[in-house]
Symmetry: D2
Subunit: 348 residues, 4 copies
């Protein structure tokens, strides 16, 4: 069986590199196009990219010429790691031209007819694609994954929301520097430091989970009705966002009941999607875990880890969540979405 | 005027060293005794101590012989940085023998008749000392300062509590490694990492603020009636605890009203205590401050800094607080308490 | 084919953990015994060990009972990660009792009849084992690997020594904290810091390479006649020792000639030993590499990387070397030695 | 006595900020002009500068308008922290217009008639200014300080050179991120890492010391005849360059003899220049010092610290040197040079 041709938009950036790395040896997809800014276009990839992965540039793309970000790439799917300053229009152009656009950028996430998908949670939101194509008159489509810090919070919340309902969520994040791209955070700002502010981050974290946990009803996504309050911080960690979460449930549940529902296996696991972890939510038993340094690569970085589940004196329960921000929180999420699209027949 | 003789218990430990450093050139106090474990006793201080300050060992104590922790020291006041495994009995022995014990250890903090004092907030709690001495039949006394993470939270809360009342407080801390003493946190545990657990820390943070903000009424401290929920984390920061706080007030207040009361000047400032900052609560205007690396030494490490005051979608307001955990959060706090005792006539 | 039973001495320590991790799924060896101090003996491994690897404890040993370090273990080979304070006698006892002891400890490295082996360089030194057994009247044997910082220096030097001869070597190391074990380096000593001293390290680095590069002649190891001068530093890196090396060759060679010999493939590669990298010496072409963060896991941590080869105005050439200190520099080295012993028929 | 008016070129950059900070409350100088790129010109300083010091912006300059870097500033002296891409021409323009230019940039350091000055070592090189002015037909002058890593090496070498002569110097540096300015080193490049390359750095370190240690003879600087070989590395340290040095002396000297000459007091100390430390070279006695985290601010960052003096098996002696790269290694050096110029009558 021949592989599906895929392209990477913003291929020289931090997220783009992660796409390239994760797609090496992918069983279904083959990288046939790399696109980036005009400054890089025309150069061999190895020359254009400030490669910052801990494995070498895949041989198959090392000498591939970087192309401009216009919809003339030889592929069916494009993964977008474009900067939000240009992602909006570029991604629309690709969708209009018939490409399936899997985007990690924020621009279209909250669009009415763009599904914001975590396959284990809301795979049925893909049904909105039909409406998207109809309203926009696009031959292709745009499917978004969430912001990285949203991802781990929502993966931990989803089972609680489905079983008990959720009313209120307080979350404080401690986010890795890789989340800011490259060059990203200057070392003078983060060595021996905590930066208690990340531009636009709290806004995303306070609204995206409700869309993801929402219901598809008659061509619309009805947002879940809970409220999120977020404090976002940058810390001196390379990879892995840690989140301290307190949650108020809609109906009372014992600690054991809550503990027992913390698992996340559904369609992606049933379909055996290549990037799906066997369980996307893993509970740590040690009292001081999860920790980014030791746990972030669990399940190849595709799971969310939860620990320290305990009562909260103000809301109902509190816990710690952790995930790999550039894998499950970015490139890996988009790839899993593409696998779901393929398995569900959305892609030729 | 001759200075008052003071001793340091646990003088070779991390907090003990900070006492020694901060007391160098103190206008009222003079270190005349250094006490530590039997292993150190008998050695010159410079030989016994693994000095980890960024200034040299004060010349006046460099060759002073370390003594055992028994109440035979040539001084009136003892500052205790003893480990909690031995602080309880040792401090009582000193109080019984007539010393004023200013303790940073947790052992006696919650004792019914031991004042837990932040001079700008509850200097009137010193009145409980009379009861303490009467009930215990001590000639001396024990006065405690709070846990480091309690300190900054409480200093930020106190003006809100007094003006508007406080009902609920959610706090997530990101605490410096110096808070764990020396050798303390192994580097393999914290480089590139967050440890989402600190033994006993959340328990302290959830109960100490209520005692400090409480009222002295007829020989008793009546605890303030608010509830605190804490998540405590260790991060790769040398000095400075950062805290993300959300608070529900007892009565409605506008952002401007809240902003306008964030100041902490009272008796210590009026008395001109040597270690008192001109204002113990400083509001940062930049949107990404306070930060430990740049702000922790503000006001010689004796102030709490607050920033990012904004509405909280769940409680009423949220903000970030920061303070120097081994100065205002430990040794500096005990010294300020001693200055208050002296100024109020509690020490001969 | 049934696997050879192996034990780990000091199994709860940092090096011991790495043995346990690297031996999981080993094609030839199976961990059947875990030994540690009396404090740990009798406990299940998972309970006794402060596990600090980024993968879980292997299921096969999780519940295995830790035994005392006495030669009554059910295995043929023991890998020793014992602390040097006790390794000397314990390892001899095992050798006397017939075990093949593969030691990472320093105690016996420089013993006259103990081979100090890097299989790609001096596999013929194993011939000294016959003399060792004869002189000591041991049924088993002791085979040592070098100190971690010695490993990478010597792997880079060996091809130069063999081809051109080496007269003088200046080396400055920047060593990872994992080299000091656990708890090892306190975080207060290394965050934002360089510690320009490691106890005993320079002494090892200045004498071990000469033994490894030496010749086996008539039952003796004749040391290579070059001189090494070392400066050793600890830096805030988790894994990977970086070394800046200047070398004076015995005979003149052009930069191209030097460059062309930088490869290290010999018997281990020919024999296809499971842990042998395809080339044990890898030259980086980028001008700012190798770097621990990006390169340390190259070839599963079993290769030494070299970069920045250039003329030295004082000696002849200078370059940077890097290797994984707890894999090729410790546990992986001992395992590779055991594989060599097995392949060469030294182990039943 | 009224203060001398001084300006800062490149005032918004990392070195420029340090000038502004160190000149606050200077007894002789007063900052009357701040100049920077066109992008900043016209804005109040507080708005133009990404202030990264751990003290607030001095009140006196907070609202001062930033001016373009053209020689129309209201001052006599300009301190230049300009980027080398523009420093060359800009500094000449100021010198031509009559300003005394104290530059930290590399552009003019090696110019034949520009003195490269460390006041404790080669204050007599100022005599070359006469030739500079004559040859260039400038009314003003350019006086340079060395590269930061050069500074500490040369301060440690100078007493050895003067007393025993020096033939060869091997140096490996471990340099702080603040040396690269702001934003400078991306955090993804340095967290848990060592970067064994700094552009152009080794070249500077291999030639500047010879000029500084050289002799002024008849209107020329005759370079000292020793050879330097340098390896330069970036490490995860905020402030402070650590250097491992091996040196071959021109004539034999005992360890005690070498130890006894390690002091650096001369004209700046005799003149009592405000920024001169009482001794510019301090020997640490502890076996693991100096260390940046604990020692970098010794003598207000204006001294070089030396430790671990011991024999070198290849050259004669080896030791560790440390200094504050943005104070003594940059802004503080230029200010001390200006003080020397003033005291020696070079400035009106």
């Amino acid at each position: 069986m021949s592989k599906i041709k895929v392209g990477v938009l913003g291929a020289t950036g931090a997220v783009g590199q992660k796409f390239v790395k994760l797609l090496e040896n992918h069983p279904w997809f083959e990288v046939t196009a790399l696109a980036a800014s005009d400054r890089s276009a025309g150069k061999p990839y190895a020359e254009a990219v400030p490669w910052k992965q801990n494995t070498p540039i895949p041989a198959a793309v090392k000498n591939k010429k970087v192309q401009p970000c216009v919809p003339e790439l030889d592929c069916k799917i494009v993964f977008s790691g474009l900067d939000s300053s240009i992602a909006g229009e570029a991604e629309e152009a690709f969708a209009r031209a018939g490409y399936a656009v899997l985007t990690n950028s924020k621009n279209h996430r909250m669009d009415r007819y763009v599904p914001l998908v975590i396959p284990e949670i809301n795979h049925d939101h893909l049904r909105i694609i039909e409406k998207q194509q109809h309203e926009s008159n696009w031959k292709g489509m745009i499917v978004a994954n969430s912001n990285c810090s949203t991802m781990f919070l929502t993966m931990a919340l989803a089972p609680l929301y489905r079983t008990f309902g959720v009313e209120k969520v307080m979350v404080t994040t401690m986010q890795a520097v890789s989340g800011a791209g490259y060059p990203g955070v200057p070392s003078l700002d983060i060595l021996g430091n905590v930066v208690p502010f990340i531009n636009d981050e709290e806004e995303k974290l306070e609204i995206e989970p409700q869309k993801i946990c929402g219901d598809y009803v008659d061509g619309e996504i009805r947002y879940a009705p809970f409220v999120v309050s977020a404090h976002c911080n940058r810390v001196a960690v390379e990879d892995g966002h840690t989140e301290c979460v307190s949650v108020k449930l809609a109906r009372k549940a014992s600690l054991d009941e809550v503990r027992s529902v913390l698992t996340l296996k559904s369609l992606p696991q049933e379909l055996g999607l290549p990037s799906a972890p066997s369980d996307a939510l893993i509970v740590c038993e040690q009292r001081d875990r999860p920790q980014p340094r030791f746990d972030v690569n669990t399940a190849d970085g595709m799971a969310t880890l939860v620990g320290r589940l305990r009562p909260c004196p103000i809301l109902d329960y509190k816990f710690v969540a952790l995930g790999h921000n550039t894998i499950r929180g970015a490139a890996g999420a988009a790839i899993l979405n593409a696998e779901l699209l393929k398995a569900q027949g959305y892609i030729g």
